[in-house]
């Protein structure tokens, strides 16, 4: 039997080899802002555990490297990820000197590379398994539950990022809900304004080029500049329009952040609405008119359902983009996870930066998976073979 290599597996095995043997697994720092000292896998874990982790990682890498059955690759990636997730907590406990509350243990490049390599393997397996939309959401839920369980069980409590969290538990959830409100609220506003605007642009040729150009220009304004540009007009509104200030409209804070995110969201929503409506088959439209549908019946009965998957794609772009962009809102006092990022940068405390960045990335990732699944469900509903 000849040994055959998996193309992606070669890359994964190379990353694993470097990450497991040459890169540091964890970083030890005497306190939260001094530079850290690197620790390898064997140094980070108790004598019995270190070699086992190396074994697991190496076996999983070999499975990835060779052409192996999908189910074996799935098991290998899940076992490796689970082992890494549990043992980084063990490393935290092991490396923290007894009774020392200043020492900080954080995952280092080797750990992150290993996570990256096996996530790549897992993602590849899941793609090749060609899972249904529901199954993909299911995988997401299981992963979220597993991470939640590890967080609740306290096995990661000795890691530096959770020590930062422990100091800021209240503000973490407050900023988190502000972050989500900003991202979702501006998306909702963009949908309420953008959908009718897109329909109007589709119907009125003259309007289309103008509106899309203006929205394009807004997209090119750097986000920090747009946040800044809005301070003056909103400040003016707050002082001159009665009642505006009591609604929370001010030059800095949530209002300009909300407005900026809303403006950024408009282009994808409007453009995708226009493209989606333009993609409705001419014959279907002609038939709809010829059979006596009114303009409204045609819009809601034919054009909109057929354009819906494309419009949803626009919404997906906006949601993922907004979750990321909302981080910048913290710069002008808008709140959100960005607060921790900028505080962390200010204090050169990388763990604090991560406390803001990791949940943002996780949220964006989850939003992308869920909306992709919804898009696939709406566009395949009409393609399903119904066996009645």
């Amino acid at each position: 039997m000849t040994i055959r290599f998996d193309k992606l597996g070669v890359v994964i095995a190379a990353i694993v080899a470097y990450a497991a043997f040459a890169a540091p697994f964890a970083t030890f720092r005497a306190n939260r802002i001094v530079p850290g000292e690197a620790r390898s896998i064997l140094e980070s874990l108790p004598t019995a555990v270190g070699p086992s982790l190396l074994e697991i990682v190496v076996i999983a890498a070999i499975i990835a490297l060779l052409k192996t059955p999908l189910i074996l690759r799935l098991v290998a990636s899940v076992v490796a990820l689970a082992a890494l997730a549990i043992l980084i907590g063990v490393a935290g406990d092991f490396l923290t000197p007894e009774g020392n509350t200043f020492a900080r243990i954080s995952p280092a490049s080797g750990f992150w590379l290993l996570i990256f390599a096996f996530t790549l393997l897992l993602a590849d397996v899941l793609t090749r398994l060609n899972l249904s939309p529901w199954a993909r959401v299911g995988v997401l839920v299981v992963a979220a539950l597993a991470i939640g369980l590890l967080l609740v069980s306290g096995s990661w409590n000795s890691l530096s990022i959770l020590k930062e969290y422990a100091n800021r538990a209240d503000s973490f959830w407050a900023e988190g809900s502000k972050h989500v409100t900003l991202a979702l609220g501006s998306l909702a506003a963009a949908a309420v304004v953008g959908l009718p605007l897109g329909i109007l642009c589709h119907r009125v040729d003259k309007l289309r080029a103008g509106v899309l150009n203006v929205l394009n220009i807004i997209q090119t304004i750097p986000s920090i500049a747009l946040f800044g540009l809005l301070i003056a007009p909103l400040g003016w509104v707050a002082t001159h329009v009665p009642g505006a200030a009591s609604l929370g409209i001010r030059g800095i804070g949530t209002a300009p952040a909300f407005v900026a995110l809303f403006l950024y969201s408009l282009l994808p929503v409007v453009a995708n609405t226009v493209v989606g409506l333009a993609g409705v088959p001419r014959a279907a439209n002609d038939a709809a008119r010829g059979m006596g549908m009114t303009d409204r019946q045609r819009l809601f009965g034919v054009e909109f359902p057929l354009a819906f998957p494309v419009i949803l794609t626009g919404i997906r772009i906006v949601l993922v983009q907004n979750i990321g962009l909302a981080t910048i809102a913290a710069l002008i006092g808008g709140g959100g996870f960005g607060v921790f990022v900028f505080q962390g940068v200010g204090q050169t405390a990388m763990d604090l930066v991560l406390l803001g960045a990791v949940p943002t990335v996780a949220l964006a990732f989850a939003a992308a998976i869920i909306l992709d699944a919804v898009i696939e469900m709406t566009s395949t509903r009409r393609r399903e073979v119904q066996t009645a």
Partner: protein, 312 residues
């Protein structure tokens, strides 16, 4: 009865349909033939007011077609187009039910009508009703398109190149089906095509259009025998004329006394098919049988050749 009186359509400086008048008898098929750009589709679309005429009047059973709002008028007129225009996100049953739903029929009546039409078109309602259009073959999609146009029992059916996207064999079948259904419901059909063969085969009368003008409006035999202009002559196709003339007649009308050897041809077959069979088998005569299988007589090459000659 459809009366088209002095209908003109102009877009800016170009006249697409130029002062066309014609009268379509109830329960007949009128075929509008012409090259692309002749204005035939625009003329058709002015009947259900998808296009509003610049001048002129169209009356349906005596009533001006502008006496109702456009969308209400269109619900009372069947409409089938090339490439069928089925709604890809709706099932076959939902597609067929489109106009009855717009008209607010009750559910039982809609279901009964959809089942009736699907059965008529040899599509099992149980099996095909819940399917989506992309799961059907081209011929089935076309049948669903026509069934949808007929759903609300319209007196008038407008068809814009309904068989254009079909392969020749399926097209023949679709044409026969349409003729049978027209007889059954007595629908008045106005059909647009660029195919003279189809026009001669389907039409009780043929309207030939060229550059927006109605050049000739007559029975197929007359169009073949006395083309009104060089354009009509070209459209008919000089070398095809005798065969098209024969295709209009049935074998039973060309029967002579006597007997002949070989397998009998049914009296319903076209004279063109009979001649083709005679020429191909190299025989001078064929026996003819009636619907009940009884012999009616025979057709001869000589007899058919005389019939293919230009009428006096």
């Amino acid at each position: 009865m459809i009366e088209i009186e002095g209908i003109t359509k102009r877009y800016d400086a170009t006249t697409v349909v130029d002062d066309v008048s014609m009268l379509i008898e109830p329960r007949t098929i009128a075929v509008i033939v012409g090259t692309s750009g002749s204005g035939k589709t625009t003329l058709l679309r002015m009947i259900n007011r998808l296009v509003e005429p610049t001048a002129g009047v169209i009356k349906l059973d005596g009533a001006d077609n502008r006496s109702l709002p456009g969308y209400e008028l269109r619900r009372s007129i069947g409409y089938a187009i090339q490439g069928h225009g089925l709604f890809p996100h709706r099932t076959v049953a939902q597609n067929i039910a489109t106009v009855p739903v717009l008209l607010g029929w009750d559910k039982a009546r809609i279901k009964a009508r959809v089942d009736e039409l699907m059965t008529l078109y040899q599509l099992d309602p149980e099996a095909f009703g819940p399917r989506y259009p992309h799961e059907l073959s081209g011929g089935q999609q076309q049948r669903v398109g026509v069934a949808r146009a007929l759903a609300a029992e319209p007196h008038v059916l407008l068809m814009d190149e309904p068989f254009g996207a079909l392969d020749p064999i399926i097209r023949n079948k679709a044409q026969e089906d349409l003729l049978a259904i027209q007889k059954r419901f007595g629908t008045t059909i106005i059909l647009v095509t660029h195919d003279m063969e189809e026009a001669v085969h389907m039409g009780d009368k043929i309207a030939v259009m060229d550059a927006g003008k109605l050049v000739q409006y007559a029975r197929p035999a007359e169009i073949l025998a006395k083309p009104a202009s060089a354009f009509v002559e070209t459209l008919v196709g000089a070398s095809e004329k005798p065969f098209r003339l024969l295709s209009l007649g049935r074998v039973r009308d060309a029967v002579e006394k006597g007997t002949a050897e070989g397998e009998a041809i049914p009296g319903d077959a076209s004279q063109r098919d009979a001649l083709a069979e005679l020429l191909w088998s190299g025989r001078p005569a064929l026996p003819v049988k009636g619907d009940d299988g009884k012999p009616l007589g025979r057709v001869t090459v000589d007899g058919l050749v005389k019939r293919a000659a230009r009428p006096a």
